[in-house]
């Protein structure tokens, strides 16, 4: 096999130090190149041939596994950071390896190696094979490249963007933030980019390659007033081409962050206890992610540990509620051309007109339920095996106006930004942390609120969605991720303004 291919790749594309590289235009996008009659990236760069894959898969199936796959990954991450007015920190990471999975029923054997040599891969495959204990099975004789649509077209490979092009973005965020308000005392800004190349080869003959870009620009602003400090952050990005980051994007990010910091000096504590909650559009979709999304991941259901385990086909919400998990939104953080076990990215209807329709499946759960996989098999990296995960999760718009929704709440709170959330799958109890919002008094938005945790129960909350507005907004942040089983994957969120009749607000006033 070829030697030293990783090094030659680094020479070609720069990796951590791409400053001197010239950005080649890819008018067709890398994706189309991969589909053309050419060797794939991992074969041409690392010498990973079909014959080699077949030998490794055969080893993974040597003890009777009924399915095996190989997941090759080469990821290059870079980020530059500004602190105290200067872009004075840079970080980089190169991750290369292959994860080898053998499956027997719902049992998983897994090994990985960072050395793409045949002996190392065979050793990892032998580890994976131990999940089974019968006679050998054989992989398919031929691998067929899968065809799929490209949901994140690129003009330029991120690894060829010179660092000199990134520095002004970060500096621009800093300068703009200070321009916008005399209250700003500190700004941290950073630009993160990741180029992840993956190849999945399965024992049933599927072979896919993809290139997943991910990038985002972040601002953190600390404002000071009368000896008090407040902090806010915001970010913008996704699976974008570098050309997305225009001066207008920089300016919008700075304004959004400064506005969020300055308003906090007027924030009040909301009352504690149950009350109506209006969720503003966009990132508040974290509510769906926690309240229903995780519970609809099929591994939890096939094991019987999700509160939604017996609810398929049942009415779980008002008829105007339709909830989608989608890998096909162009350029969004959770979008996927193909999932991490070679299944095409797709749009999955979880709740349709209030009725629970489908779980999110990987190959194992799809086999269990005798349905087609939904393209939700994901993993953090080659070091992890696939489990069902969300992509971009959102609710379709309703008929009302945002003003009507707020008016109908009467007295309660309005959620603008959500920082994080968590769910207990079996009980359906969830929480999400409101970093910014407003009080609603007599159907009108009044004083700002901040740092409030909200608790609810997923099935109960779904039934309590009383009105949805016509303003569905997908979060345009690029930093969103979801943790499960010790793995973090990028995900997206979306929601129209909607009213939940009652949730527990964690204030401090009785």
């Amino acid at each position: 096999m070829r030697s030293c291919t990783r090094r030659s790749f680094l020479k070609q594309t720069g990796g951590i130090a791409s400053a001197a590289a010239v950005a080649p235009l890819l008018p067709m996008g890398w994706f189309q190149l991969a589909m053309a009659d050419q060797k794939g990236y991992f074969e041409s760069t690392f010498g990973i041939t079909d014959d080699l894959c077949r030998r490794v898969l055969a080893r993974a199936l040597a003890k009777g596994g009924d399915y095996a796959d190989l997941y090759f990954e080469h990821t290059i991450r870079n980020w530059v950071m500004l602190e105290d007015g200067k872009v004075n920190q840079a970080y980089g990471e190169v991750a290369l390896g292959v994860g080898i999975r053998a499956v027997k029923g719902d049992q998983i054997g897994y090994g990985f190696t960072q050395e793409l040599t045949e002996p190392s891969m065979l050793a990892a495959a032998s580890t994976a094979a131990t999940i089974a204990d019968a006679g050998a099975n054989q992989p398919a004789g031929q691998f067929t490249p899968a065809k799929f649509k490209n949901h994140y077209p690129l003009e330029t490979l991120l690894t060829t963007v010179p660092i000199e092009s990134k520095l002004p973005l970060v500096q621009g965020v800093n300068d703009k933030c200070f321009e916008l308000s005399p209250l700003v005392v500190k700004v941290n800004a950073s630009f993160h980019d990741e180029q992840k190349r993956v190849m999945t080869v399965t024992s049933d003959g599927v072979k896919t390659e993809d290139l997943l870009p991910k990038n985002y620009l972040v601002a953190v602003v600390v404002a000071g007033k009368d000896g008090k400090y407040e902090r806010a952050w915001w970010n913008v990005g996704g699976r974008k081409d570098f050309s997305f980051y225009t001066p207008a994007v920089v300016e919008d990010l700075a304004k959004a962050t400064v506005d969020r910091a300055v308003v906090l000096f007027d924030a009040v504590q909301p009352p504690a206890g149950e009350m109506p909650v209006v969720l503003g559009p966009g990132v508040t979709g974290i509510l769906l992610h926690e309240a229903i999304g995780h519970g609809m991941e099929a591994d939890f259901n096939r094991k019987g540990i999700s509160t939604y385990a017996t609810m398929i086909g049942k009415q779980v919400a008002e008829p105007f509620v339709t909830i989608i998990d989608d890998g096909t939104n162009e350029g969004l953080t959770g979008s996927l051309n193909i999932d991490d076990e070679g299944i095409a990215g797709q749009r999955t209807v979880l709740v349709e007109d209030g009725i629970l329709r489908s779980y999110m499946h990987d190959r194992i759960s799809a086999k269990h339920y005798k349905v087609e996989p939904t393209g939700n098999g994901r993993r953090q990296s080659y070091e992890h095996y696939v489990v069902p995960r969300m992509r971009n999760t959102y609710m379709l718009a309703g008929p009302a106006t945002p003003e009507d929704v707020i008016k109908n709440a009467g007295n309660g709170i309005y959620v603008q930004d959500v920082a994080n959330g968590q769910v207990k799958i079996g009980e359906g109890d969830f929480a999400f942390y409101v970093s910014q919002g407003r009080l609603i008094e007599d159907g009108k938005l009044t004083a700002p609120i901040k740092d409030v945790n909200i608790m609810g129960n997923g099935p109960k909350m779904l039934r309590n969605i009383a009105i949805a507005a016509n303003d569905l907004e997908m979060s345009q942040g690029g930093a969103g991720f979801c943790g499960k089983d010790g793995q973090a994957v990028p995900v997206g969120f979306g929601l129209p303004t909607c009213l939940v009749k009652s949730m527990t607000v964690g204030g401090i006033k009785t």
């Binding site: 004075n88 149950e274 019987g304 009980e427 942390y433």
Partner: protein, 440 residues
């Protein structure tokens, strides 16, 4: 000592300097691990691998960057290092970025921290499987007919690292970690399927104790969640269970870092030597505990490890200030972050304290929530049990506690006698009075 790792780190420093670095810190790490999970009395997952990596911090022309790679072949590394140095030189100057003054490397304790189990090499696949089967069996037995699903698992790892700097620091560390636990789901009322767990962790195999006990406790904790409901919003005493104290403590710690202070993101920035908590709170950072999960002889800067009292009888005594932020703040550095955090235990058990309090909430888990290091505001969901007349009576869920750390910690009324041994945060259960518990 691993001569090969030392040689590679030394070579990386020489190569980076030849490429134009003025100084650098190189860390080479390597580990191997085995994970086994059982469900329905058969292996659900088996995972095993070895990993390695090189990290380098580069100081060049008054500029700084940090890079990682897992490709340790010399030729590939040479290329990687020269590009890393070139990248560094394109950044803005930062006069505060230097390697530490070597005087802080001095005085490293010459003791065996006992963080490597010499028996690691003797572990067998059969032994690992047998332990996990025992955990699963105990959990299923205790769960009885209520059990829907049990997943028992174990993880063990052996890690080595070498750190060298161009100004004379050398460090080598070998450690082992053993983890075992079980997660259980039981049938509750209607569609509720309470899910609970228990785990133990130690640097030594014998530190995880009886596998039967691990499984049994996981089942008991899950069964305790049955029948949970929310109660009225009211002001009550709250006991936070030992294993969960770390969650609220992190909110306090987030404001104790040099970076938080220098970047105006610390509500404790001007509180040194002031009382920030009840006199019952003392917090010690002790890196030298034999067998501690957070034990170390040197920190990330290479500073010799020392025991430090961070909070004494409620008074804030010290911050976690690394070399870089000490220079920016013009303060004396301490250490960049905690090692083993210890709250000295009190005298009474949780049971005894409950009897005295009569009515309150015993918090056995948190859900969601966050804490703002700039303002000290915090809000977090709670799971636990209501106790009345000194006895647990009712599981509670969908509830929340909130407040500002500067108002919350002064309400600490008692420290229990039960430090949690399976974490680098050795925290006993803590009792707070007059806490608003949000529910209905």
């Amino acid at each position: 000592m691993n001569r090969e790792m030392y040689d590679l780190a030394g070579w990386a420093i020489k190569t980076a300097k030849a490429a134009g670095a003025d100084d650098c810190r190189v860390s080479i790490s390597s580990d191997r691990f085995v994970e086994i999970g059982y469900r329905q009395r058969k292996p659900e997952t088996i995972k095993e691998a070895r990993q390695k990596g090189l990290s380098i911090s580069i100081y060049a022309n008054g500029r700084y960057s940090s890079q990682n790679t897992s490709d340790l072949r010399r030729e590939a590394l040479k290329d990687f290092l020269s590009r890393a140095v070139a990248t560094t030189k394109l950044l803005a100057e930062d006069p505060y970025r230097t390697l530490p003054d070597p005087k802080y490397y001095e005085g490293r304790p010459d003791i065996d921290l006992g963080i490597r189990d010499a028996g690691y090499e003797t572990l067998t696949a059969e032994g690992r499987h047998a332990m996990v089967k025992t955990i699963e069996d105990a959990c299923l037995t205790k769960g009885g007919a209520k059990a829907i699903s049990v997943t028992a698992s174990q993880h063990d790892s052996y890690a080595e690292s070498v750190v060298l700097t161009s100004n004379g620091f050398e460090g080598y560390r070998e450690s082992t970690v053993f983890w075992a636990g079980a997660e259980m789901t039981v049938q509750g009322e209607g569609d509720r399927r309470p899910n609970g767990y228990h785990f133990v962790a130690s640097v030594r195999k014998d530190g995880i104790g009886s596998p039967e006990k691990v499984g049994t406790i996981a089942a008991e904790r899950t069964l305790d969640l049955l029948g949970a409901r929310k109660i009225d919003t009211e002001t009550l005493p709250v006991i936070i269970e030992n294993r969960n104290v770390s969650r609220i403590l992190r909110g306090l710690l987030s404001a104790m870092y040099g970076r938080s202070i220098q970047q105006k993101q610390s509500f404790l920035a001007d509180k040194k030597s002031e009382k920030i908590a009840s006199g019952r709170l003392t917090l010690i950072d002790n890196p030298l505990i034999v067998g501690g999960l957070g034990s170390r002889l040197y920190d990330g800067d290479g500073f010799a490890a020392k025991k430090r009292v961070m909070i004494e009888a409620g008074v804030l005594k010290d911050f976690f200030v690394d070399w870089y932020y000490s220079r920016k703040l013009e303060w004396e550095p301490t250490t960049g972050g905690p090692s083993n955090l210890v709250i000295p235990p009190g005298k009474r058990s949780v049971k005894e304290i409950m009897k005295d309090l009569g009515r309150g909430v015993f918090v056995t888990g948190f859900i969601g929530g966050n804490s703002n290091s700039t303002t000290g505001d915090s809000s977090v969901g709670i799971i636990g049990r209501l106790f009345e007349d000194g006895e647990p009576t009712q599981a509670v869920a969908e509830m929340n506690i909130a407040g500002n750390h500067l108002e919350f910690w002064p309400k600490l009324a008692e420290v229990a006698n039960d430090p949690w041994p399976y974490s680098s945060m050795r925290t006993p259960s803590l009792v707070f009075t007059d806490v608003v518990v949000s529910g209905v």
